[in-house]
Symmetry: C5
Subunit: 262 residues, 5 copies
């Protein structure tokens, strides 16, 4: 953890990461209801909204589409990721080096760690390598800290999420992206476990506007630093309205209700 | 994915890759009916046809035969591949480095990824390495994107092929080579999943002229960019007539019927 | 083993390492009764006590908090460590390189070796690498020498602890950190097995002041060189009094009774 | 495959490799009837015969004995090999780097590939590395192409040997060393599968002079390029007579009968 | 194998290696009857005897004690070794690089190879690396050639020991250290299998003076080059007398009887 408040992926201490690596992680099925979003340009377009501090995509998408948006969007290259065709213990292949991410213009890098997987040790060692390389390029490191694997059935219980943020802090992440642990109290504890490191909530599957914003409001109230959101934004017909509201909740500490009414 | 329309392996935005690595992947049995084609020179000869944008061979064949054809043929070195004596989970050994491929004159490189294999993570990490090395040498990267392995019985169903093209896009390929998913609609979806990346159909086993060309016609109509063909060309007595027709279907958007009649 | 009496982590030949990597190794559960200690700054504060020769933390904590304490605290970066979500044979991922530890100001490095684990061979080879790198940076190496794994049920029996100190000596450690083998005699033998290498006792879970200090007194009497302590210090409301006493026992060879009375 | 007719290990387009790595591969038992041949100098002596284009030995033998014969013998360093104490799937450790082989005077290098073994992928990747290193040193590469392992019971059937020569060609070998497939027709097919690459027969266990020479005659007639022979030469009391005959059969296309009568 | 008669670890063509890595390989239990020998300085003291051509220790012991003896003792750094807490297939971790061994003053390096273990291939490849690095530093390489593992129950039968010496020769060792195969004839065969490479007997557990010396006498008579001895020397109250006798048997070809009487 290093101070990253001056990084372009942070705004007033908080962050809103628009993630779009679902084509790799889940497959085209995530786009079934919004087939036009299969065109990555549409999501980059959405990422130009002021609420979004950066877009998070895999290397191939970044190579192909970021050149057209580099003036208007900040780029987080997600360094690892695996298709859900994979049937082994949770694992994630390193698909991009930090060097290459920097070369194609990354402002930050992301990495998934499956704590508790039988591949945890190997993944943590890969994290060491990308972390230290990222320090050389002065790129903030966001850890998708997702305990998962043999013996970890319910991966959103409070103790798991608190462990997830602590793991990220101890291993050197600058921001931990974790699932919502189900309550504001549990989120507050997870944030406390993170020390001075930032914590953002993982958006999850698409839900109702107010429900979604209320959870974000709870994260901010708990001391969290925003969210990383994907389907909840780009699976909507018109994501603009939600992003306007998110901007208010994340950076201006408005309530979900007030933000939606505006 | 990077723009490759200026690459020699592309003609008017499309490509026709003449593949001849069957001696490695399937063994000499693929040449039983055309033993004279065991001599790679005969296939290089065929590759001089204008319809063919490049020949795809393994390193050893490239070393031995490309020097005589370098003025008339473009070379894609297939970097990995494994014999079918192999009885483990789908895997493919990396038989040639990008550096060496460039040294022997490659205009592009190819790589097989078996998504869903228990070796997927390792193969994807090898892909990262060859992809980033290929960028240094400015060589387009073609991914043979073939989901296969434990739990993936039918590897040509529409969802699998769409996932295959998306995987290739996300991981950084410039062209994905996939099997035909059985219908024009499915092919169109697979092409849509690929964004701006090119998609070519894998030729498969030898079929009747019209059937074969009609499928190619469907690929082009679906927005695909041509094909990679092997047995359907060099297992024929006289491949010239088929290549003449392919040229019309792939680059001039003629129908299969019209192309065959000409 | 090299002479390290001039190192800042040693005082009058002995050492008191304040360890705080429990958030990684055990999870936030270790902080349940003292939630304010989840803030690493509080433990760094404690480490400014003269009894403490260095603080031992993981890379992420060092990055985030050491810059504020570099004038008042000596830093030992623990190079490996694994969460207890891990369910495989005892193993520990290498989370920090020696190069990076040196860059962030380390005065020494630490490494856990699980002798007897099915991962022993691999861990010993990682130890070789960090040991030789540490020599280049002139950083003392502390081995957490913890025999553990298949077939090693009771890991504090005298023969195990003696083997643990000998292993550390043979492999090149400068200090071995081992569990207390249950008696002064056994501790003396473990120290004898270590030759000229220093041995410190691992503090273990929180106990009563006098019990704890009496064990430390026994370690010193047995020729040991102090202790590495975590929970027994920072899980206390006011660790100052205990540290005052520890200082007398470790560096001035006072008895536990006398030290507590002072 | 590159043109190697100018290499010292080739004479008039053909080759006769005197192999003596049996002490590693089979153990001292192969020398039971000729214990004096345990002294490698005796086999180097034999290799000075004009019929022999090079001797093939492991690194240790080359280091110890080649310096005395470097003016009279050409050296092929066999880079991998494993004792028959090994009870796992067919595998072969890489015992010598190309760099070191070149340093001790190698004129060529050799490598065993067990196609079909569960270690095939790993071995092929090792082959890639030694192949590309050998190109840098301009050393011809001979592949001991021996399909073997799980599911490959009879490893000399025609289809297997044809696949073996093709594998060698595709992967980049300059000469394939294969077992005799049992008939002249099968040998001819195996040679045809090899394209322009050279093929030599593996000598096998000791047989009668005429039988042995007749097989060599068949290999030459089938378009093969000679043989790699070990026991059939050095297990004989006086190998001179057989080598005289071999010279006639391999380089002068004499029949076995005529060669023996001379 | 290279000529090493000029090396400091050889005297008149023979060698007597005083080994003391038992603390690692067997644990402190080997010192139970001679606890004062837990202090490595005592064994270095013994190694100053003229009979001893070098001491063989692990890196940590060398670092700590060799600086005081570098004028009077030659140093062989044993590069690998594993505790007997290890319960897997025979294996040995590489605990020291050749570079570091050279840096701390090594005159030679040692390496254990367990031929026949399921780790044989991996160990042989590690041997390749240390062997070639040792050549760069001009350090003789001693192989502890110990066939062991699945299916190898009796590891001292004649055929096993002969294979062990041959393995060492083929792979490039300068001296093989093997167990005594039970008879002078078997030893002679093992020596013959080693060609010009030197063979020393492994001392084994402590026995009676005359028995021990008689075996050494047999080794010398069989053409062997001495021994590597540990417990038979340093487990004795006064090793001086035995070393005096060993000196006569190894370098002056005296009989055991004569040597003991002197």
């Amino acid at each position: 953890m290093r101070p990253i408040d001056d990084s372009p992926i942070v705004r007033d201490g908080n962050a809103c990461i628009l993630a779009m690596d679902h084509g790799l992680e889940h497959g085209p099925v995530d786009f079934e209801e919004v087939p036009e979003k299969l065109d990555p340009a549409t999501v980059f377009e959405t990422a130009t909204h002021d609420a979004v501090t950066c877009i998070a995509v895999q290397k191939g998408i970044a190579e192909g589409y970021y050149p057209s948006y580099e003036d208007d969007v900040n780029l987080l290259v997600k360094l690892n990721g695996t298709s859900n065709l994979w049937m082994g213990e949770p694992d994630s292949s390193l698909n991009c080096s930090v060097e290459y991410a920097a070369e194609i213009g990354a402002d930050a890098v992301g990495f998934t760690l499956y704590g508790g997987s039988n591949n945890e040790v190997e993944m943590a060692e890969e994290f060491r390598e990308i972390h230290e390389a990222a320090r050389e390029y002065d790129l903030p490191v966001v850890m998708w800290s997702y305990p998962r694997g043999q013996g970890l059935k319910n991966d959103t219980k409070p103790g798991t999420i608190s462990y997830a943020t602590r793991l990220a802090l101890e291993l050197g992440a600058d921001i931990a992206k974790v699932k919502y642990p189900g309550s504001a109290d549990a989120m507050e504890h997870a944030v406390q476990c993170a020390g001075d490191m930032k914590v953002v909530m993982s958006g999850g599957s698409k839900t109702d506007d107010l429900d979604f914003l209320s959870t974000v409001e709870a994260v901010i109230a708990a001391g969290g630093n925003g969210l990383a959101v994907g389907r909840n934004v780009w699976q909507r017909e018109n994501p603009e309205r939600l992003l306007d509201a998110l901007e208010k909740v994340i950076y201006e500490e408005e309530t979900a209700d007030a933000a939606l009414e505006a």
